[in-house]
């Protein structure tokens, strides 16, 4: 059984759907990347899973941790999960830390909650955590306020705070978007090291395919509230199947080789309140056919661990593996 199993998760704000049925499983110790442009629902997925959305959001579906349902669970069951089993860090580290509390106190708070540590023991553990995430001079920095630290250091504080509860999964929501490139490299390196050392699973949410591909072993591409393609990192780059994934890769300026015109995706993301009929990507898709505006595509397995929600996607043979026959039959069913 997967550690976290999200099934058919949907979220709506009033009449506007933000998530339209997400299915995603995270295994223990695994690193999964969630990629997509702004508004695709990649952050909302995890805020909804942990019950962190405002009350006006309608959340449906199922989120199980080790088989236990947490969606709509009472507070007593949800609060130990938050920070204790699944921790989250966010995009803007400076704004995500309380400006009027010392960082040591903010880290220590999580220790008290999830590990019952207080006083000197907690302080010693805070210092150890700060050392672990690479904050120099932790003994003194424990008394610093967030505004006295740089953006990169604040993100390290956020990570230390997340580690305090010894979570089994860390969800990092655009953790480097607000940071400079060289600092981004530091933070990604840190996340990888921590995952290796602690064995926790990682969900990395990013708009940057490059960022997730280096850090994660499996990638899910999201568009307009759905996962449109899911595959191991390597395969998604060698065999991108959904036109949106191909579009994202074509839009990225290459670092070497001849400079050619970028393949931009025309148009813009559909408004949540006005989802097109059929495939949500069809209006922007260069490969769209008449059927695309009629059939709402479901994810089709292309190989054992690669699936795409596109009626034109075709199973392919991987080196050392036969063509995924099962895929073809599933497709036929989906077409009915």
């Amino acid at each position: 059984m997967a550690f976290v199993e999200i099934q058919n998760l949907s979220v709506a704000f009033g009449r506007s759907p933000a998530l339209r049925g997400i299915n995603l499983a995270v295994e223990r110790g695994e690193a999964v990347g969630l990629v997509g442009e702004s508004g695709c629902g990649k952050s909302i997925t995890w805020l909804a899973a942990l019950g962190l959305l405002p009350s006006l959001a309608t959340v449906r579906g199922s989120v199980r941790i080790d088989g236990t349902e947490i969606l709509g669970a009472p507070k007593a069951r949800l609060e130990p999960v938050r920070g204790g089993r699944i921790a989250m860090i966010f995009q803007d580290p400076a704004a995500s830390l309380n400006p009027v509390h010392r960082i040591g106190r903010q880290i220590g708070e999580a220790l008290g909650l999830h590990r019952g540590m207080t006083g000197e023991r907690a302080k010693a553990e805070v210092i150890r955590l700060m050392d672990q995430v690479g904050i120099p001079d932790a003994k003194n920095r424990i008394n610093a306020y967030p505004h006295e630290l740089s953006g990169g250091q604040n993100q390290r504080v956020m990570i230390a705070m997340a580690l305090a509860g010894q979570p089994e999964l860390l969800v990092a929501d655009e953790p480097t978007t607000a940071l400079d490139v060289t600092i981004q490299a530091q933070i990604l390196d840190l996340l990888t090291t921590l995952r290796r050392d602690t064995g926790m699973a990682l969900v990395l949410i990013s708009h940057d395919l490059g960022v997730v591909s280096e850090t994660c072993s499996r990638i899910a591409v999201m568009y307009a509230g759905r996962i449109v393609e899911e595959a191991p990192s390597g395969q998604i780059f060698t065999h991108p199947n959904h036109p949106y994934t191909r579009g994202l890769m074509g839009a990225l300026p290459p670092l070497s080789g001849a400079r050619h015109r970028l393949v931009a995706i025309p148009g813009s993301v559909p408004e949540a309140a006005q989802m097109p009929q059929g495939c949500a990507f069809a209006p922007r898709c260069s490969a769209a056919t008449g059927r695309c505006t009629e059939v709402d595509p479901v994810p089709l397995p292309l190989t054992q661990d690669h699936s795409a929600a596109c009626i034109h996607a075709r199973p392919y043979a991987q080196a050392g593996q036969p063509l995924h026959h099962h895929a073809a039959t599933t497709r036929e069913r989906a077409m009915q």
Partner: protein, 311 residues
């Protein structure tokens, strides 16, 4: 922190000097005190003698400097009306005023802040809407109208409470209610919007994501941050307490500093007016100082830095 305090003190001193100058100029420009006090038909010799006695025959700038000299030596002069020492005339009224303003201020805090916090936490609920309606009413209705309404209801119609004088503690209830309601309404509105602003901040989401129960998120993370803008408003209210008593004391014939000010202005009793205005100015400046110090305590970002522009 020392730098911070010093610069605040400097600013306070400058403010006081400016207020004193302003008072001096306005009072001298708004009519001849000798004429008012002696009566327009008084013999000219008498008026001249009065002017001489009070130094009003001196050039303005000499009056100005002796005014300052007097203030800094604690010599605020004598009441032109009855020749008593101005300071004691004013100070004997202070307890009366405090008897209204201190309870009213407590009502402001005790009612306004929790109402605002509650309304923000239960946004769009029935109670939130009630609080907002009360807040807007309290904000829109001038205190003298509210005072007269209360008198109509509780004194004239119901006959429960006295409408004027200072005979018993019952007399204080309506004035306190008047001042308390207006301030509480203002404070509730500001506290609510400050709280809503804070509750939308990413660090609140972080605190929830950490696994803190909602009550702890509010107590430990939201309140202190919402206090930062709220303190500014409380400071303004604290500074405006004496000034606010002017209207209410007049309506309820409460023998406090505010009523004394009204009477003294009508009588052109310069010394008393100056003393009271100076006192109001000092309370305002002092309230500002307190706000600045509280800011420094509540918000670590303030240490050694200029406070951001208000509002």
């Amino acid at each position: 922190m020392l730098h911070y305090l010093l610069s605040r003190l400097l600013r306070a001193a400058v403010s006081i000097i400016m207020v004193v100058t302003f008072v001096f100029v306005v009072l001298r420009m708004s009519g001849d005190p000798a004429m008012v006090i002696m009566g327009a038909d008084a013999p000219p010799e008498a008026i001249d003698a009065f002017r001489k006695a009070w130094g009003l025959d001196q050039p303005l700038w000499i009056q100005y400097f002796s005014f300052f000299e007097a203030i800094f030596s604690g010599e605020l002069g004598r009441s032109m009306r009855d020749g008593r020492d101005v300071l004691s005339v004013v100070l004997e009224r202070v307890p009366s005023t405090l008897a209204l303003t201190v309870p009213a201020f407590l009502v402001n805090l005790v009612v306004g802040v929790p109402a605002g916090v509650y309304a923000a936490l239960h946004r769009n609920s029935l109670i939130d809407r009630c609080v907002m309606v009360m807040a807007v009413t309290g904000f829109a209705v001038p205190s003298f109208i509210l005072a007269m309404l209360l008198v109509l209801i509780f004194s004239v119609n119901l006959g429960w409470l006295p409408s004027a004088g200072q005979d018993s503690w019952l007399n204080a209830i309506l004035p306190i209610a008047t001042m308390g309601f207006g301030g509480a309404a203002l404070l509730a509105r500001f506290t609510r919007s400050a709280m809503l602003e804070v509750l939308g901040q990413p660090y609140i989401r972080t605190a929830s994501a950490k696994g803190l129960p909602w009550s702890a998120v509010v107590w430990r993370h939201a309140l202190q941050n919402a206090a930062i803008p709220t303190i500014t408003i409380i400071g303004f209210m604290l500074g405006g307490l004496v000034a606010g008593a002017v209207v209410v004391e007049s309506v309820f014939s409460w023998p406090g500093v505010g009523r004394l000010l009204v009477i003294s202005v009508a009588n052109r009793d310069l010394g008393v007016v100056q003393a009271i205005v100076l006192m109001i100015a000092i309370t305002m400046v002092a309230a500002n100082m307190i706000v600045d110090v509280l800011y420094g305590l509540v918000d670590p970002r303030m240490h050694g830095q200029a406070r951001p522009a208000r509002r």
